[in-house]
Symmetry: C2
Subunit: 438 residues, 2 copies
């Protein structure tokens, strides 16, 4: 049976069509029977006037349960009284393709954990499925920019032989007779690609963090967007790449989903102006302290409260939702971040805050083998050729160009773009310390 | 310094430019000094006529080592004698950005394992980097078709709470106080997305197989391309989706990289005609047995030899590189494949062979809860609500539409498209039972 999508019915008035979807709501009265059927493009009312004895349709409709999968064939009738687009279907045939058990395990009032248990039912609500329509658009726009800027799409391994970046927060995997580790980021591998002469690298893939964090922003598995660019002149090249990418992303999201996002989630999608505001960490902390943050004056890095306050201050001053923070102290950044030429205590690195949440860390990398080794040792790391960093450091021994890149959390971007309460709502199936199901 | 790519030099004759790349070859003679510099777009000859004492450039050039990263500024000169595009650069300035240690650890003659150890150096050879340029094109074309056909791009979890599909070949992960498992495919999750009302699902992501296989086609981690389509009429809808996708892929690959693939790898990219040939397994085994395969007559499924022979026979008869095999016996397929309406001993499933290698398994899925449970039990599986399949089976209790999908190995597609000797050459960093590095 050729399927007509609910979203296409307006152009099928007076035709006989078949729609395929789920029973959204049922209202079976003594004379009139109404079934609202939902597919991924909308909802439509199916209206049946009960016949007398032997009304086969009446029998089928009375046997329906909410969320059953059905196929409805009937005539599309324009009826200005009907709220759903002024259309209804007068059915000739209703087939229950797969009946739902009566009594759904969740309702709109069910708490978040139970809704996650029954995620597939929760996602049937259009405002929840919207997240993944937006995700598709976000990735399309990112890849469009990546392609225009000459990036190669790469898939770096998630299984590593050594836990190189930070041993504490890494998952261990039984790997035949030995132990493997799940990659916490494609960082070292994308730099390896730069050493391989791949000029610009783009990857969207899973990253794994064995952090026992229970905040609304953290997950043990999430989708990372990674970029690495060779032959850059400065970290500014990385920031301007990201600006262009996010500009395109929000342009497309506003265009395709802005109205729906505002309707369902009350969030207005703002296409950001270029360039984004930039503040050095010194400027940012001064601004924050003037506003009362960190009264003890001990922090070198921002805490979540500092991030929220700073974004609020920047939004007030400039009207901009984004702000790049630059020149982080070397003490709070990884060893491979390049030190600033004019001040070795700070790095040519950045974070990007959006609406008070950090969505990106980026940097120019130290590409000189000797300095990189020295910086690793300074952080107390084993930089010997046989040590866990050996294979990584090898990449710098045979001609490594200047390069830099960024890592962006896809779930955070979606959470902020739609205004979702938690990262749990921004991913298909959330993974946290207490959640491996469904 | 504004960078000019080597591939753009033809339009910069007589201009002074800066190229950034690696020392490909060095030939330093008493009068003339030649350095071939390579970037990701090509190679160019840098030609210096030695001056007398105090020739600063001579000093720098004599200090160069192969594979050092350099920036060369100079005038682009047309010189028909020069093999590399009839161009050379007469240098004014050569800067060694990052010197390579003398004595590279691999050469063109080095064996495959040692080349994998130094993968980043091996990948600097243009024919090896080409693989990832083709990969980028392949994914672009796949996503283009996925978008046209209304797919949502999804990221399913790689960490699972239960090892549902097949316990034997799954990696175990220490997960806080319990054990997680690495997903061997997004199979159950993409079906969960269908149950969630996501109409069509597309995912490119890593899959993990704890198989101790050492063939040229197997890896413990590889990139899978997964599609799942709701409300299909039959498995034919899945096959025709895949045909359209692969047709677009090979059209784009031929267009953008066909000439280079033929030059570097001697493989001609053939854009396949639609539809691809289809054979039922009964037809295929009859054809194979007539050609001398499986003389004992005991096999229900094809072995690699059978796959190669069948592709050869089909190519001979039809000139086609692809063949769909359909109606596999239920005994050799997973429990969730739909049984054929006219013969419950066979499934509405398929494999796709390309040039003698299986690149896809697909099927319509059983969407009826009762039958699915019965089929799981028939295979000796625990189909109880508390068992490892519980969460999966739940998805079929509240209205699951008819659906089907496919899984495609990206590395195999690349291996066959370019004619690479092994899957090891088709992935950025290979992972096998004995290889977790680099």
């Amino acid at each position: 049976m050729v399927r007509t999508l609910v979203g296409e019915l307006a152009s099928a008035v007076d035709a006989t069509v078949t729609v395929k979807g789920w029973v959204n709501t049922l209202r079976l009265q003594s004379t009139m029977q109404f079934v609202v059927v939902r597919d991924h493009t909308g909802t439509v009312q199916v209206t049946h006037r009960r016949g007398g004895d032997g009304d086969r349709l009446d029998e089928i409709l009375r046997g329906l349960t909410p969320e059953s999968a059905v196929e409805v064939t009937g005539k599309v009738v324009a009826n200005p009284v009907v709220k759903l687009g002024g259309l209804e279907i007068v059915p000739e045939r209703v087939e229950v393709v797969s009946a739902a058990e009566p009594g759904l395990p969740i309702t709109a009032e069910t708490g978040p954990e139970q809704r996650l248990n029954w995620r597939f039912l929760d996602l049937r609500r259009p405002e929840r499925r919207l997240v993944f329509e937006v995700q598709t658009t976000v990735e399309q726009a990112m890849r469009e920019v990546a392609a225009e800027e000459g990036c190669i799409e790469l898939h770096t391994p998630k299984l590593m032989g050594t836990a190189s970046e930070s041993g504490a927060e890494v998952f261990e995997v039984g790997y035949f007779e030995r132990t493997a580790y799940l990659a916490q980021s494609p960082q070292f591998y994308k730099q390896m690609a730069i050493a391989a002469g791949i000029d610009r690298v783009f990857e969207i893939g899973p990253v794994f963090r064995a952090e026992p964090s229970f905040t609304s922003r953290h997950a043990t598995e999430f989708t990372g967007v990674d970029v690495e660019l060779a032959w850059i002149d400065s970290v500014e090249d990385v920031m301007s790449f990201e600006e262009r990418m996010l500009h395109r992303v929000l342009e497309r999201v506003a265009e395709r989903h802005g109205e729906q996002i505002e309707r369902h989630w009350g969030t207005r999608v703002v296409v950001p102006e270029l360039p984004f505001p930039r503040l050095t960490m010194a400027e940012a902390t001064a601004k924050l302290r003037a506003a009362g943050w960190d009264r003890e004056g001990v922090r070198e890095d921002l805490d979540p409260e500092g991030e929220r306050l700073l974004s609020a201050l920047v939004a007030e001053e400039t009207g901009h939702e984004f702000v790049f923070l630059t020149r982080f102290p070397a003490s709070v950044r990884p060893f491979y971040h390049l030190r600033a030429a004019d001040d070795p205590t700070v790095t040519d690195s950045f974070d990007l805050l959006w609406k008070g949440v950090e969505i990106t860390t980026g940097a120019q990398r130290e590409h000189r083998h000797e300095r990189l080794v020295a910086q690793a040792r300074e952080k107390g790391m084993d930089a010997s050729p046989e040590g866990p960093l050996g294979r990584y450091l090898d990449c710098f021994r045979y001609g490594m160009p200047p390069h830099g890149g960024l890592g962006l959390g896809l779930g955070r971007v979606l959470m902020l773009a739609l205004g979702l309460p938690s990262i749990r709502d921004a991913v298909f199936l959330f993974r946290g310390p207490n959640r491996l199901e469904p």
